[in-house]
Structure formats: C-alpha cells, structure tokens
Symmetry: C2
Subunit: 100 residues, 2 copies
C-alpha cells in the first residue's frame, strides 16, 4: 500500500483517490480538494485493511463537508497480488464513486 | 463488536450475518450455511475495522463457494455510539445484500 496520498487524473473529469495507511482526514481533504477544483466525479479506491478507511472517508466527505455530493455506486472485487517471495495471494478491493 | 458469529432471523426469508473479529472463514461458513438451508437473501453487516473483513467474506462466498449468488447492493452509513465514559463517537458501517 502506498504511503502517499496519490491523486490520479487531476484537472480531468474524473479523479481517483487511493486510500493508504494515513489518517482518514488526509484522504478526506484530497477528495474535497478535487471537488472544489471542479472535478465532477471522484473515485475512492482501497485494498485490504484500508477498505474500512475508504468507507470512513466517504461518510466524512458527504456528512461533514460536501452534502450535495452523491454516491454513484460501490463495487468490490478480488485482486491477485504477487508477493516478494513469488507466491500469489488474493486481496479484496473497494471502489466508491462519488459525484456532484 | 460481538465476539460470536451471530446469525439473526434463521429459518426466515432473510438472514443477517454480523461480522466481528474472528477469521473471515468463520463468517463465510455462516453465510454459506444460511444459503444452503434455503434462505434466499443474506445480508452481511459490519462496523469499523470489520468492514474490510465483510468485503473479504462477500468475495470468498461468491468466488469460491456459491458462484450463483449475486450481490444485490452495498450501502454504507455512519452510526453514533455511546462510549463507556458517556462520550459519543461515530463509526462507519457497511451492509452487503446477497441473494440467490
């Protein structure tokens, strides 16, 4: 999992905010900043244990900062990762699409 | 969060499986057992850190055990809890509806 607050596709019609291990408020700020810069759709993505934080981020963004933002859908999936020792393991992922 | 694998509404049309702190496979077994006993709709519910495990349970049930089960919707919410010292704090929750 990345340690930085990554934002892909800035200045486009759709942004993706990847949730990592930092406090939820870091990612909330990233999402709010995207919407305030005019991006109409922001997707929150997380894997593994960060999934809980992704839900926190969505709830805080809508309930505290941007009540006019709507959830457009939540999807989950299972991704296969290759470990350092070459073995493969599965990890769950979530994708939450928000738009104004 | 409860320490038991709680199953509410057994023998009815809809069952709820609450995800706690036990390994995901315990809850996978609970969901599969419900479907195999004839219940058509099983709802997986979790709060806080257990949300990630709820997604794991859903992915394992569908990908490994019951490929004919479909996801009917994922909703998230924010619940307010009263702590032991009387203060109140918010916790995110997820609800995943599966049916045959």
């Amino acid at each position: 999992m990345d340690e930085n607050t990554q934002i892909a596709g800035t200045q486009e019609k759709e942004s993706i905010v990847y949730i990592g291990k930092k406090p939820a408020m870091n990612y909330v700020l990233a999402v709010v900043t995207q919407f305030n810069s005019g991006v109409p759709t922001v997707t929150i993505k997380a894997r593994g244990n960060a999934i809980s934080r992704a839900v926190d981020v969505k709830e805080i963004v809508i309930n505290k900062f941007l009540p006019n933002v709507k959830e457009r859908g939540i999807t989950t999936s299972s991704e296969e990762l290759t470990n350092e020792d070459g073995t493969r393991s599965k990890v769950s992922a979530i994708q939450i699409v928000l738009s104004k």
